[in-house]
Chain length 505, copies 2
């Protein structure tokens, strides 16, 4: 069995972790053990699981210093960013605790027996129930918030689903420590061993996906990874959903009046947004549409100044570093010119130079508009609004679309462009930047293919819907119904005979 | 281009319809025309679309006599059943009108800008928006309620999605007349031509599925049809969801005390449920678990008596008739014995004899438990509860699972069996029969694979969720937001800063 190594991307040095890639038999028993925990998770009930999520949040908090240091040594993302990300992961567990206490996520509904235009109708009650074991693939670029202790895990556990996490090879020790933090919280509540299950190695992840007990898969990763997982799903007897968050160009449109009034400020915002975390965020702005005008020139000059004096960015691993270099070369071959790029002294790790590229709108193609993972942004110079319409049509659908406008920009044009961006993304941002995804009830993180393959979000309260299925009870005796569907229960919002009845906690 | 024929299943006679199979170019333009109607549908707004659905209901009602007669001549399902089914279809359009007026389906949520543990957070607002054009495959066994004017069409139009319907070959004239009834309502509201689009022929359906503008497919049909559609989806550049309602064994468990106390009544209920509509309902009980006891014997005898004196059942088409005969022969070869079967005089159409088969629990296999489309039910005789546990484990997951119990049956056993059925179905029915699916807010029609491939229902108010996607607006100016997301709007329920605020109409 292969051993699992970890690499510090700052110096490229590889060291042993003491962990081993999980063999097929071990995956089988890990999934089986996880599946058995479904009864415990379900037995906790809604409020008990809220307590579990709070305990996990507290357990992560108590290990903050170690977790952040471990993640920093494995990802090079920096202590400040990782500290913030851990807070985000903790916030997610707490938010799903609130979601459980609220109970609206159950979509509870009661239709009492009635005479209808179709004759006498039985009593029917519906709510969402746990889907079953979920395999979560950790993301490289978010060692906390989209990995072992990330939003997929938090929402699946909230739903009452056992979780099998596949550790990302860029941070196995962080993954291991995160799983241990969750397991400690489970032990503290006298829960079973094997919650969460964790497996190491790509083959182990695919074995888990093929396991008959598994009911869904969540991935934040590349389209290539999604295809490999889908191929494993296709080998199963039964199809199961893959919720993939995959690739995103995140266009930002700057209208003339915005460029005129806030050019310097926008340059600063764009620079921070495309270079933060080494440009390795799924919401990184990959394309900025800037008017071909003196105001646009000034905006681009301000961007160039910042990029030219920027330091190197440490990327997560060798593969990403190589892909970044390759993609940049590809773009240059396709006729995209380098607008600014600092000289970075050669370093032993996976350090690269951020890059600002530039192209005329008329030369933009879907291939050029495609995502480049890393600190690279392409400025697309446009002449007028018809030019912009044509440009947006070749940008692949994305997680986000942003638009900057000023008092001099026609509202009808803003409305039309917002409509075009809305048709091709999951979140439209006004006078802001796509990075920094708020974790909240109203958030949506998911756009049309290729940004995701799903009609669901992976961030925010409604992410829980992915891991639930509806179940209806017809003419069920009161004592067999879940508490939330009994007539005398009033703790959560329910739809009773078609009318919404708010909960009275 | 091939002409489209129709067959009266009572006499097997084939006649021309005057319709033609839709050629590839015609499909392309039908989909393009349908896609263009998205703007009109969206422009109607929520309440305007509710009016459209009411107008469609009225249009169908005004053509009731013709529609029912046409459907009867094409399906042989009988005027009474078809009249009831048309009422159901009309009810569905009216129900989705109510869903639109209620507005809760939008899942509207507002998180105002705030200071959070993660720093200052932007204003984020979310609601569901139309997904885009939907291809609906009409079902053979429900010429109204699951076809051109069925629940998929009603929920897609309610969502604001253009619909392209693929007519089922068993009832092209009914499909054509249904599409015309909908189109008339659209014309009455000054809507565009091509709503709904309708195509004829299996190749045309698959061309529509491959069209880049199409965003989802809905099917009530066989697993084979689902595989063919999925293969067409796999040829697309982008994956789109297929919502399939496919195959279902619908086990009914009769516990000893129920058999003792209500044996005769249960026999009557089961007989009506498995022979109604020629046994061609997706919720037909295919398996009845009856105790091996004198009470069980009496129940089976009562069933036998009814079946032995039953008349022939007219099946929808030649393929179904042949498959029915083949499946019955297969079951007999597998050792299932004929318990009762009337002699039916040879007829020229697709008439078959209903069949009651019987087998011991110990000989039940997954192959035997699989769905048989048509008026056939297998009685499985069991000895005790452990015997039942083993039996339920081999039954394929289904749309429904039913359980009959009496005062003498242990509540703990009912609870455990209900749990087993719940794990393997989408609706559990107590002391009733699975057929006759109530159309209402709390209904769920969808179980684990192979009964469906989806976590969504195709019957009831929440079916609309299949045809919507979430969209978030970040820091959007008030004037660009949809009405339902503006601060001063109060007409529908919304989640504001995490708290549910009921609508004040």
């Amino acid at each position: 069995m292969s051993t699992v190594t970890t690499v510090d991307p700052r110096d490229g040095r590889r060291r042993e972790t003491g962990l081993k890639e999980t063999g097929d038999a071990a995956v089988e028993s890990a999934v089986a053990l996880a599946a058995e925990s479904a009864e415990w998770l379900s037995g906790l009930g809604r409020l008990g699981r809220a307590g579990l999520l709070d305990a996990i949040a507290a357990s992560l908090e108590s290990r903050r210093t170690d977790l952040v240091a471990t993640a920093d040594s494995e990802t090079g993302l920096g202590v400040a960013r990782l500290d913030h990300e851990l807070t985000r992961a903790i916030t997610q567990f707490r938010m799903f605790g609130d979601v459980l206490r609220d109970g609206g996520y159950l979509e509870a509904a009661i239709d009492h027996a009635a005479e209808t235009p179709l004759g006498p109708a039985p009593d029917v009650r519906r709510m969402l129930v746990p889907l079953g074991p979920v395999v979560v693939f950790g993301a490289g670029n978010f060692p906390f918030a989209f990995s072992v202790a990330g939003g997929d895990t938090a929402s699946a556990l909230a739903a009452g689903d056992p979780v099998i996490v596949k550790a990302h090879p860029s941070h196995p020790l962080t993954s291991h420590a995160s799983a241990e933090a969750i397991a400690a919280a489970v032990r503290g509540m006298h829960g079973p061993a094997g919650v969460p299950a964790i497996v190491y190695g790509q083959p182990a992840g695919l074995v888990a996906v093929r396991h008959p007990a598994v009911r869904a898969v969540a991935l934040t990763g590349s389209i290539g990874a999604a295809r490999a997982i889908q191929a494993a799903i296709d080998e199963r007897d039964d199809p199961i959903p893959l919720y993939g968050e995959l690739s995103s160009a995140n266009p930002v449109v700057i209208l003339p009046s915005a460029a005129a009034g806030r050019g310097e400020q926008i340059a600063e915002g764009l620079f921070a947004s495309f270079t933060g975390s080494g440009g390795q965020l799924c919401t990184k702005p990959g394309l900025a549409f800037v008017p071909s005008s003196p105001d646009g020139d000034r905006l681009v000059e301000a961007l160039q100044k910042r990029v030219a004096s920027a330091g190197g960015a440490v990327l997560l691993n060798e593969r990403i570093r190589d892909a970044y270099a390759e993609r940049e070369a590809e773009l240059r071959r396709a006729g995209v010119r380098v607008s600014a790029r600092p000289e970075i002294a050669p370093a032993s790790g996976f350090t690269v130079a951020p890059a600002l590229l530039e192209i005329e709108r008329s030369r933009l193609s879907a291939e050029i508009a495609d995502e480049c993972f890393g600190p690279l942004m392409i400025v697309v110079r446009y002449d007028g609004v018809p030019d912009l319409d044509a440009a947006l049509a070749v940008v692949p659908p994305s997680l986000t679309g942003s638009i900057h406008s000023g008092p001099g920009d026609d509202e009808a044009i803003v409305r039309r462009l917002a409509g075009e961006l809305a048709a091709r993304s999951g979140r439209i941002v006004f006078n802001g930047y796509p990075t920094g995804v708020r974790v909240s009830w109203a958030q949506h993180h998911g756009g049309p293919w290729p940004s995701t393959n799903s009609l669901h979000t992976s961030v925010g309260a409604t992410a829980i819907r992915r891991f639930l299925r509806p179940l209806a009870w017809q003419d069920a005796p009161e004592w067999i119904l879940p508490e939330e569907l009994r007539d005398d229960f009033s703790g959560i919002v329910r739809r009773v005979d078609g009318r919404l009845v708010p909960g009275r906690p």
